[in-house]
């Protein structure tokens, strides 16, 4: 039995090896690209949703921010709440139907669908990630004069990214597998290859076996690389003490202010 399986796989590989490899490469490119774009969408939505406003702000600002939150909320609910396979056909056939735009390029549609879908999940992760950052981080930044965007960019988002890295990894692994539904609009991914080849030569199980092994290989390697990246983001586990004399020499060029700082507005001084 096992011997027969390997003979079958061997013959499939000889004949269709490059087809399988192209499929796996397409899957990989789609998953990586869509996850990256999805993260960008997610961060964008997450940031917009967490812009603070208070009753003291003017009406326009409050209105715009509220509207933004509602739009993002709707986006998240729609794309989390429906199957991606349906979203694919919906967008693929819907765009020409309404706007007369039709995509000749299956790649573009596929990347759009998977990115937008991933973005909906990431928006929630990023929002949660930002909200879980301690208030003290915002206040510490405010207290040294940083504005909201500086605080987000330099303090909050780097910590958010580190905290939600496992969820980004999760989404990526899901994308590696779930991009297989894109065969519905004719995307030539790894799974589509299986349908095509096994239909042609009637070797369903050997091909399915190769598919299982192929997907598992992709996800295992990805998991491993993601772990490494997470470790890198977490920083070095220990630190080296620095020789003080040397440092003070470096700092020696620094001129100590004689008055302990000056007011920011020279005019206000007498």
């Amino acid at each position: 039995m096992i011997g027969q399986l390997f003979t079958d796989i061997g013959s499939l590989w000889n004949k269709y090896g490059t087809v399988y490899l192209t499929g796996i490469l397409n899957t990989l490119i789609l998953a990586v690209t869509a996850t990256l774009i999805g993260c960008i969408i997610g961060f964008f939505c997450g940031i917009l949703q967490t812009i603070p406003y208070s009753s003291k702000d003017n009406v326009v600002k409050r209105f715009v921010l509220k509207l933004l939150r509602i739009i993002i909320r709707a986006y998240v609910e729609i794309f989390r709440g429906t199957p991606m396979i349906l979203q694919a056909v919906f967008i693929y056939y819907g765009l020409p139907y309404f706007f007369g735009i039709s995509f000749k390029d299956i790649w573009t549609v596929s990347i759009i669908v998977v990115s937008v879908n991933t973005g909906a999940y990431m928006a929630e992760s990023v929002r949660g990630g930002i909200m879980s950052i301690d208030r003290g981080q915002f206040e510490g930044a405010k207290a040294i004069g940083m504005n909201h965007w500086q605080t987000m960019l330099h303090i909050v988002l780097p910590q958010t990214l580190r905290n939600i890295m496992p969820q980004i990894g999760n989404n990526y692994i899901i994308n590696v597998k779930d991009t297989s539904v894109m065969f519905i609009i004719g995307f030539n991914d790894f799974f589509a290859v299986h349908k095509m080849v096994s239909g042609a030569v009637f070797k369903y199980f050997p091909s399915a076996f190769m598919e299982m092994a192929g997907y598992l290989f992709l996800t295992l390697v990805s998991s491993f690389l993601l772990r490494k990246f997470e470790k890198k983001l977490a920083g070095k586990p220990n630190y080296e003490l620095v020789n003080t004399d040397q440092l003070v020499m470096t700092a020696g060029n620094y001129n100590i202010p004689t008055e302990g700082g000056a007011p920011f507005d020279e005019k206000s001084r007498e």
Partner: protein, 246 residues
């Protein structure tokens, strides 16, 4: 004639219907080390947060070199950069090293070039005895060390006034001393400071001015010698008796 850096005028703050600060008036002059003492819940933190514009006042004004900073004409970020704040819980940036914590504000807010920001950061870290730790992250150092870095971070902005909100309250007892020592050395450098504290020895021996707050009002203020040996108000006397014997 000393120069008023900060003048707090008729400051009131309410959270909803809860009046936390009522008609607070006092001034901070150059070189003053003012200790704010008082029972928990009396509004000390809220006062400091109002001064640093982390809270918006309900009424009143805060004059910085004679200019009202509460009316929106003055850039809040520029003002905050000149009025530093040290928090009870340090609030060091977790994603940055000790050095990064002391550089980021200089670079992004004060637009100091990188090399100079680094030298300045090391200069102030050295002052608080934390220069050897520049490569450590906040989660790798002790509470006392974190607070000393937080002080260096504030100093690196070269503020005119430093606000401290119970800087030693979150520390294990054996670490309180190292932070108080840093604060004492700042005081002897004539740094202008406004310190909310339960460390009565600091209030008595280091500060030039003591403000006693109770229920959102300044019950009594004056020189430490007077407040600690001969307070006018009965409430001050009872508070001190409780805290010094407790």
């Amino acid at each position: 004639m000393s120069e008023h850096i900060l003048e707090i005028r008729h400051l009131s703050k309410a959270f909803g219907s809860h009046a936390v600060l009522k008609d607070i008036d006092f001034t901070v002059d150059k070189g003053d080390v003012t200790s704010i003492i008082g029972a928990s819940g009396s509004g000390k933190s809220t006062l400091l947060r109002c001064i640093n514009l982390l809270e918006t006042l309900t009424t009143g004004e805060i004059l910085y070199h004679g200019q009202d900073v509460t009316k929106g004409k003055i850039n809040a970020s520029a003002y905050r950069a000149k009025v530093g704040m040290v928090f009870q819980n340090f609030n060091l940036f977790n994603n940055l090293t000790v050095l990064g914590n002391c550089m980021i504000g200089q670079q992004k807010v004060a637009k100091v070039p990188k090399e100079e920001a680094k030298q300045r950061a090391i200069y102030y870290l050295n002052k608080v005895g934390m220069a050897p730790y520049i490569n450590a992250r906040p989660d790798q150092i002790s509470g006392g060390q974190k607070q000393r870095v937080a002080i260096a971070r504030a100093l690196a902005m070269e503020p005119e006034v430093l606000l401290f909100d119970e800087p030693t309250s979150a520390l294990d007892p054996e670490m309180v001393g190292e932070v108080l020592d840093v604060m004492k050395s700042l005081a002897s450098d004539r740094m202008t400071m406004l310190v909310v504290t339960h460390e009565m020895a600091f209030a008595r021996d280091v500060s030039t001015h003591v403000v006693y707050m109770a229920d959102g009002v300044i019950e009594e203020e004056g020189e430490p010698a007077k407040i600690f040996t001969n307070p006018e108000s009965l409430r001050t006397r009872e508070f001190l008796k409780r805290i010094l014997n407790g």
